[in-house]
Symmetry: C2
Subunit: 412 residues, 2 copies
């Protein structure tokens, strides 16, 4: 089973947009066990597109075309594939109704070409577009290559792939079993160490499979079980997760593709009804801004200070002049005073502080990447931890923020 992805769009060849669609689809195909041998990009040009389709047809079992389903004269994908297959285009009445209704309701003028978006290749399955107008197509070729056509805008392509296309592909190529995935998320352990600790599991994987992905500052493992029933899959996944947790459980903070350390922490704070405030020096507001990215965080996050300068540390937090002078701004004592002070000032349950050297040059004789994080929890003794991060300004700040979140997670 070999698939191939063709992205259609001159704007990709001009370097105006990045072809993230191919990445999205390729990753999900890999998870399903479908090999992608080729990806290509071709402009909005019928003869070049037709040649690409012929070549793909000759070497792949499934050809996925992304883009070119819209209403403009540049959009040629459906028409070209239909021509190649010797098929007509016919109308999807639901999609057509949606288009007509939209123009009726908004009072805008519908031009003839808008209707093109509701056409699909005869003898294929029309795929509903939840977030736009252009329908997708899945054409199952009894004696040849299959075709899947998806719209170009990622906001339309992604839901169509996940909700419409993926179940169809599953049914078409793996109808004797079902796939179930579980994503485990890790922080504080690098990909290579994680993989080493799980080496025998990964090398010996058959069912479930284990796929590690590394991001800048975290690693995820996608476990995928193939089975006849959901119960059986859950059981397989539970067993494997248990074995993984035995070895690296302390680094695991959550589940799911659409999750993050900050989302998990905010959820826990809400559940435990704990409020939080922060005092930031080197991170300059990035920790609080990260909290602020979570919708509904106002339930637990009250605010804080950004004490970038020593003056601000004294003025806004009453960090003692003595401490700054004798211990330094980047010190355990300053971190603790900052955390305690912001917590007291705002009357929260938790106060966290960040002070360190973001670079480009060392500070108070301490190298770039040195960071103290202070944590003050109501009723407990204030603590602080020393970290040494890589020497890139951007990464030092990002890792400091994530380490702060992890510090809270381990204290809860």
């Amino acid at each position: 089973m070999h698939a191939e992805i063709i992205a259609v769009g001159t704007e990709i060849l001009l370097g105006q947009i990045v072809n993230t669609n191919a990445t999205f689809v390729a990753k999900r195909l890999a998870d399903m066990g479908i090999d992608v041998y080729f990806e290509s990009v071709v402009g909005d040009n019928e003869s070049r597109l037709l040649k690409e389709i012929k070549k793909a047809d000759s070497r792949s079992d499934l050809v996925i075309l992304i883009g070119g389903l819209g209403p403009t004269k540049d959009d040629l994908t459906k028409q070209t594939v239909a021509k190649f297959l010797g098929k007509r285009l016919i109308e999807d009445s639901k999609a057509m109704n949606k288009i007509v209704r939209y123009y009726h309701e908004t009072g805008k003028t519908m031009t003839e070409n808008n209707k093109l978006q509701a056409l699909f290749i005869e003898d294929s399955i029309a795929l509903k577009n939840e977030t736009g107008f252009a329908v997708g197509n899945y054409f199952k070729n009894a004696n040849g290559t299959d075709f899947l056509l998806l719209p170009g805008p990622p906001s339309e392509m992604k839901p169509m792939f996940v909700h419409q296309a993926q179940p169809i592909l599953q049914e078409a190529y793996f109808n004797d079993h079902l796939l179930f995935s579980r994503v485990l998320r890790f922080f504080g352990i690098g990909e290579s160490l994680l993989v080493t600790k799980l080496e025998d599991l990964i090398d010996g994987q058959t069912n479930p499979t284990i796929a590690p992905y590394a991001k800048t500052s975290e690693v995820t493992l996608r476990l995928t079980a193939s089975s006849k029933s959901e119960d059986e899959a859950v059981n397989l996944l539970d067993q494997l997760e248990l074995e993984i947790a035995k070895r690296v459980g302390e680094f695991m903070y959550g589940y799911g593709d659409d999750n993050s350390l900050v989302a998990v922490i905010v959820e826990q704070l809400k559940k435990k009804k704990l409020t939080i405030s922060a005092a930031e020096s080197l991170t300059a507001g990035e920790f609080q801004s990260t909290l602020g990215s979570i919708s509904g965080v106002s339930e637990v996050f009250l605010g804080g200070v950004v004490t970038y300068s020593n003056k601000a540390k004294e003025q806004l937090l009453n960090v003692s002049h003595d401490t700054l002078l004798n211990k330094g701004a980047v010190s355990e004592e300053t971190a603790k005073e900052m955390a305690t002070s912001v917590r007291t000032k705002l009357g929260t349950d938790i106060g966290i502080s960040f002070t360190g050297v973001a670079g480009p040059t060392e500070l108070e004789g301490q190298p770039v990447g040195t960071v103290w994080i202070g944590l003050s929890i109501k009723g407990k003794e204030t603590t602080a931890k020393l970290y040494h991060f890589s020497s890139n300004r951007y990464l030092v700040r990002e890792r400091a923020v994530l380490s702060g979140l992890d510090y809270i997670r381990k204290s809860l």
Copy 2:
């Protein structure tokens, strides 16, 4: 002159990394006036790679291969192209010395395969790798297709393309004239309006050419002049910029590819020796964190507060209880009090404040996207401006931060 880009790497086909290299190269080729008709991705597999090379050779004048120049057994690009061309691989002594020196200095053990990175195709030009070990290649084919080989890591590929390959391509294909580019940066005007205002210039463009690029919240115009001398090019670019400035000059904030509104503002503050502090509600520290991303900002940025809750507004900024009760947290009065208070508390020349509705639900009867920005400048009357942004939480915050920077720019 048709070029084609082939990225080599199984990790792209697995969806593990995004093919940003192709975007980077395609954009620069477009700026040079070289058309890219095809892009493709092929895995680390010799026979499939060889087929792709043959096909590309048959249809393009220049084939650019990216990736597969490293030391592992997966890295096959150089070997495969050499085989296709019927050429041997020979050693680049400078590159070899660099490799040997590295292993000598670090005390690490050099394995034989590390030397592979210093090999290049005979009768081609070896391209120096400033940030890594694998040399690139440019093979000019007297009676056929030319080949350019670049390393896969973007940190190696980008400087090699810009510093080594681009001048060679310029010389090889445009030796009768030189290209000079100037990038103009705009904020506060959308791409479509900008393009409309410059429609006649864009439609009639010959030399210089005008290429607009839209990012999330800003637009850039790349002007490219082709001429026999730099003086002539500068003159052409100056004339065009003047005409553009007449029409949309108020939205133009700076120049250059590697620039941003925040970098321009920090530079101006440094030049004018003006210090700044900030009080943020809905942006939750994102404005200050954006300042903090600029190296050396501590010269002008002292700190500030994040007053996410009303309690924090009273506690940290002494915003009057009356104002919050009668005018609301999202109001002109609160914005002004916040800006003035943070400026006074930290004794800075400028104080800026952000208060608004990030969503997901409306606040105090005001819709998501409503934002007040307050600006207090020493010796001037404090002002505030009302903005209405799109209703996506992420964008509301980002646009608020950028609008705040633009507000400062216009006041300086």
